[in-house]
Homo-oligomer: 290 residues x 4
């Protein structure tokens, strides 16, 4: 059982509580009973039971409680021992962003960060190519160049880990980072790495999905945001979307056309995760959308 | 305070409970406490508080209870006096359909009714033109021809009311019924008449919306399903959608292109309403979507 | 080089001309020059050159010409020897429909056929299960029951071929026909068989795509209409679309949710093909959409 | 008759030719005949005749011609006297951007301009509030503060005109500029001012469309990009799109949710206009989309 007291978007005078555990009769009554006892009004609640998995998921919004540890303990007392409880009370997530050469997802993050609408703060950007350093510098965001060239994958990842270990990042956003990370790297950040894949998974796993899409003659292309696990492009999907394409587009045109949907899908995934709307269980997500 | 015991889609071994009332602290705890006491597991729950209106909306799914009146009374005891409680336990809605000349929405309803996927049963179709009688007859559905010609509106509506009064219809579906109904008619069936309007309201209120859309040179057309109130095309919106159109379409082409979106939007609205996912409060809806 | 004089949607006082051939300078001038010489005004024209393939595709709409053979010969004279020319002049396509048990795509076809908005005429329906016979009968459409049981695939297909050989069908629509057809069968009807596949290809090729989608935890499902070739689910894609799904849907719910998008995608593919908007070249299509 | 030799996106080794005129038989033959005579291969062509207006619209892509004036003269010779001919040969559009306080559309333009994917160059930004100066400065784009305070509308507009007159802007982009411009101002820049309106016009004309949308309880919100004419929000629509919203959004949430669709719709409109895909005729557009 884990209790995590996290932070959420600024200006909210609300608490968001997420609970995931084995299902049993009376869980909603137990949880809402604790809140009613504390005189907290629940302004929004969503509960889902995955009956095949016997798994309980609940998200609620309520007024701020002055004593979070006491509230956590009270909730813990009424829940199964495997329950994970997350209480978010108002400060923003902190993120690190990893990139290669493509600018579009990073720029969207930097702009929203600059205008304070990201629901998170960008601590730093790590790139394995130098070309995105300039745009980071213009927004006063630290850029760490960690080239993969003339290094083993292990050396390359060790240098990235050193940067990440120096940051208190809640999430690592792979904003078109084009190197495959090793299972060892990923295991250090479980459920903390979010990737944007430039296809509507599971179609076109792996490299050059737009080239694959062009060769197949598809009439729509897409993008998928997912948590990263050991298995390439197989992690839990957070959100995905598609746009129509026609015969008139070359594979290069599809890459261009895909930029907007990639940016949009990654942006939506971050908004969902940072606003505490996403649960992970095994290889799937439960998303309590807006 | 009203308690309604209704019916829902067949084959479900679940109950759906809808509650709407003035908000106050502890409502979720009170409701879920009653269910826990009855050993009913809540497999899905959505709660929304409209804070500006101080209004509480809740929908939950749980196992069937053997004694609905007892459960209703227990819920009533813990809720504000203005609470409306609806408990749906498995039999289908019954509907009457009103049409004029266009076939597409009616045909979708007849087909789903025939193959038992409508989540409702069609009792009868009332048309003010004879041309849709044939398709009704082919599916064994009674068709009542009530022409508006050579009658006052009052006489016309009185004849329709006589047909409707002979039916135990839960809802009246205006599936492209092209006559404007009087406030007196509508008042007899509050929150029971669902209309499909062939534009994305509030654009193009009233007659010939596709002609209006064509003249304006819009790049998308749409459809809106709404409950019917006294005020033409101003009732609470259930759902709406749009599709892109181009300069190459004439106003007549737009009418053709609109058929699919009209059918789809009305179908979705019926599914939401028949599955107890829609609340009406003042001139808006709360829709707990899939 | 082939010249085909076909038919198109009724009531049109226009001709649609499709030309596909090896590209060379001056083709548009040559074609439009022939039409100008005949005093035919071109009201809509789309031309696309696939430069990688050096392939020319053209579709135009013009007034009816009284002497189609003369016009065809004049066009043939100015085009490369490999040109295929199709001139459509107003009568409807004729189709055969093949089904198994699911009703939704078939019912949409039958309804549009009945109300004369399909842009084609349904000659017959062939089913390998008896359960869709009733709905065909209600619309007066011949239903041929050809069971696959206790037969070799060859015997089964031979019986279907006998039915099809008795019909003058321009296209064969697989409206949720759930048996895999042999290469020999398909070779008899090149570019004439249109299938609806219940996934956004190339994701989830083969059986039970919704089960696959559910297991993978995707956030959208889709449908793909394509011409059928030897290679299962690998033929030229005509059109495809997706809809969002959530964690709350079981695999069975996805099957239900998919019915509307399957119906819509197959309907759109038929409209595009029957209105002479689709070219096939190798394993891709060129679609001159509305 | 006007002949304009403009510029288009960089790196293209193609010419784009747009022709609009009164329709008559033989126009495609005449135009393509001129190109064939010059040994220019047409790789893409779209022609549309608005038959109610007897108006001819044509867009084609072909190889670069070394002598544009000669080509223009040859085309002029074969066309009606009212023909407008635009030949685009490769340099980018130049634009001025007008803003008030909201950053999202401007930031998208600045980012694409910085990474050279806007299909245009930003010459300057004019704002009537100072808060977007910082982001412009970070990208090295001149920002002109022209406050409307303590000025007549005429004085305010005169100051803007002085800035615009100093620039060779092809288009003026109103990227959430929240002041209504006078007919006199607009008349100086016919078909050159593009606005993003934060609703799916013609719904919610004028001020506070999201507040209007919230009050009406709509289930989708949208955005419309249009050319600006004298008549508020009534100019020719270039493109528009919608997104779904639910009861859980306040009017303020809708404003936030609308930012992405506004940015996307304005971005698409600019791409269409800058790539010579949009004709204006009377109060409508003909858009030859990708």
């Amino acid at each position: 059982m884990g209790i995590t007291v996290l932070s959420t978007i600024p200006g909210y005078s609300i608490m968001i509580i997420l609970i995931q555990c084995t299902d049993r009769i009376g869980l909603v009554a137990a949880i809402s009973g604790v809140l009613a006892h504390e005189r907290l009004n629940i302004t929004s609640l969503r509960e889902h039971v995955d009956q095949a998995e016997n798994r309980f998921f609940l998200r609620l919004e309520t007024a701020l409680h002055p004593d979070i540890p006491k509230l956590s303990a009270a909730l813990k007392d009424v829940l199964p021992t495997d329950a994970s409880i997350t209480i978010s009370t108002g400060s923003k997530r902190q993120i690190a962003v990893m990139v290669t050469k493509e600018y579009h997802c990073l720029a969207d993050i930097l702009i929203k960060n600059f205008f304070n609408t990201l629901d998170a703060s960008v601590l730093a950007v790590i790139g394995n190519h130098p070309n995105l350093e300039d745009v980071c510098r213009r927004f006063g965001i630290p850029f760490y160049l960690v080239s993969h060239e003339q290094k083993t994958k292990s050396e390359f990842e060790q240098q990235i880990i050193e940067v990440l270990d120096s940051l208190p990042a809640d999430y690592i956003i792979l904003a078109k980072f084009m190197r495959i990370l090793s299972p060892g790297f990923i295991a250090r950040f479980p459920k903390k790495i979010i990737n944007i894949h430039h296809s509507f998974l599971p179609a076109f796993v792996g490299a050059s999905p737009y080239r694959q899409a062009f060769e197949r003659g598809v009439k729509l292309i897409g993008a998928t945001a997912h948590f990263v696990t050991d298995d390439l492009d197989q992690g839990p999907i957070i959100t995905q979307a598609t746009i129509p394409v026609s015969h008139s587009l070359t594979a290069e045109d599809m890459i261009t056309a895909g930029k907007e949907i990639e940016t949009s899908v990654l942006g939506r995934a971050m908004s969902l995760v940072f606003n505490e709307r996403v649960f992970v269980h095994k290889n799937k997500t439960v998303v309590f959308d807006y």
